[in-house]
Symmetry: D2
């Protein structure tokens, strides 16, 4: 399995004005699969398009979408990849999406309807595609998973998802400023990885 | 007709990363109508929701959506207002939306399909709801319109749309730094208005 | 002591492009004092100016600046308030600012030089101005403090600083997703407060 | 003269919250000179630092700073380059900076004081360093200049400055939607250039 980090994610939260955070989009691929990890949010659509063009990659080439969790800023662009199965933890199925807010509810329900018929449920401890370890990490939302992969081109790679969004959050863990279960998981995988692919930051090379 | 500026619009353009600009959302209303002028973009959804809650306003209360033009950052939230007719200039009907880009094309086509069956075509010189003057201003996109309204609570109000997005662009016109047809229209309506409602800035009170 | 939240802070972190996060600016005031809590960053300068104008408040009116910690996005605007003493935890004094990076180092050193001659050192357990409890919370940076104040107009108010930046981080604590020392402090003060003034979000009213 | 585009500029304007737009930073260099065109704003400082590190470039290596105009988002980082002369049009000298606003005034006056003793005045029609054509274009501010350079590695390059900030503004000119003096200058140099280096967008290759 090889890795291609297509677009690094960001945080834009301006209270009373705009929530435009969007997740990193990465692709894990081999001869048979082109797996998009977290296809991100409409805000990044335009430049995601430019990155696909540079790679001569088309939406219909994507065979699977793999979600860390079912939040809009990570998952709503799944709709653009109509040929892909969507891999996501089963806990995503039982949420009252339509009650999330008068517009958010509609947006979440639409995203759920789009994904429901092509979902593939994943669980803790599973190895996907002989390559991707699933770690259920329900510390950001109940269906949240992290991933660990040995890649051919980036070495061992940890995808924490939103339990550790940025290098600043990682440094807080490494300096012992955060000390709970999340911190332990992050430290454990930090120790065995060569890279961390953050959801809302650029990829981080671990220097040992 | 009364005016309520629900959320002021913004510009967020970070090349190679994110395009998250979103338009101002304003409401013109009387006993019979609640007209949303440019319902904006997903990025503003969350805080638009908070503003609707503060006003105890619901999506189904909106009777009409009125669009300055058919760009995503102005019009895509139309989908949340299912009871509303969508007023837009006829030129919007004949664009090759599906060819706008591999993801943008899908997003535009989806927006078009959502609006097509409930559109009401508007034209230059028309007065809508006995109150809103339509000025066809095809200098940003072919279907682009500006609006002028005498309101009960804000006086005379000019909605330039994206031919003059911010107060900085207005000042360029007033200082004579921009001198073409757009500048003439902006100056003409500046002279007869009490307020300008910018699409990507907060409302501007004209001091005389 | 009364409270006035002048500008709510935000997070803007776009990797490889821009770090423009800025802190909330709040004022605690009585007959003798106008204390600015975290004067924020240059990015918010323009609209901070508008808020000061609305209140007919001038930079020289500010008698004290009170810092949660000595990061640029919270403290660099201290330079605009030349009459103010700057209250900050003593740990701020011993950092190798000039080595923080080729530009950051210069910016930090300049901020330090500007503040050094008018600093007043604060410590854990102290009550400032007979009103403001200082809680040393070195979980974001070694000099970091949180504050707790009984105000006349907002009731009991907790200023966590950057140990809990947004309502989303608060919800993680309240749902038990974060469980360490920071979580305990946040819960303790949540229980005794009427409002939380977040550093990178709008003020939060605690419903009991 | 060779060109290196170090960081592409952006627009972030959220009314009543934050103005964090920052200009593109480019370097023109040969054996004797390292000329930084528009060193940008504090918001981009952190990632500008990363780009300098990647190139093993140091602030003291910069021999000249060349400004399109004297606005904070383009020029305030000049202070980091202490060895550099600052090239700027003479009109910058006579503005009432201290009256620009209670904080902006201080920021502008500080920037002026920092630059005043090392400024070199440039004028329309001049050729700088045998390579850079100066075009006085006072349509954004009175001291505003555009530049045109034949480079060894990018061909002929036009730096419009803020008279044409983004590719969207360029397309408005090319489609005839803008028709005044600014449009004429932009078209003239578009016709003779291989690239446009926008101030608030990524570089644009002209396809003929």
């Amino acid at each position: 399995m090889k890795l291609d980090v297509i677009l690094p994610g960001s945080t834009i939260w301006i209270p009373e004005r705009v929530q435009a955070s969007y997740s990193t989009v990465a692709m894990l691929y081999d001869d048979k699969h082109k797996i998009l990890v977290d296809p991100s949010h409409e805000g990044s659509m335009r430049f995601l398009e430019e990155e696909f063009e540079k790679r001569q990659l088309h939406p219909e080439d994507i065979t699977e979408v793999l979600l860390t969790h079912f939040h809009l800023d990570h998952a709503v662009n799944s709709k653009f990849f109509k040929n892909a199965s969507v891999y996501v933890h089963e806990k995503y199925r039982n949420k009252p999406y339509s009650k999330f807010g008068m517009f958010s509810g509609q947006a979440y329900q639409g995203m759920f309807n789009n994904v429901r018929d092509r979902d593939v449920l994943i669980k803790d401890g599973e190895k996907l595609f002989d390559s991707i370890d699933v770690i259920h990490t329900p510390y950001h939302s109940s269906e949240h998973c992290s991933f660990f992969v040995e890649t051919e081109n980036w070495g061992k790679v940890f995808f924490p998802g939103d339990i550790c969004m940025t290098r600043i959050e990682l440094f807080d863990v490494l300096r012992g400023l955060r000390t709970d279960k999340v911190a332990n998981i992050v430290k454990e995988y930090y120790d065995k990885s060569d890279y961390i692919i953050f959801t809302h930051d650029s990829p981080y090379k671990i220097e040992k």
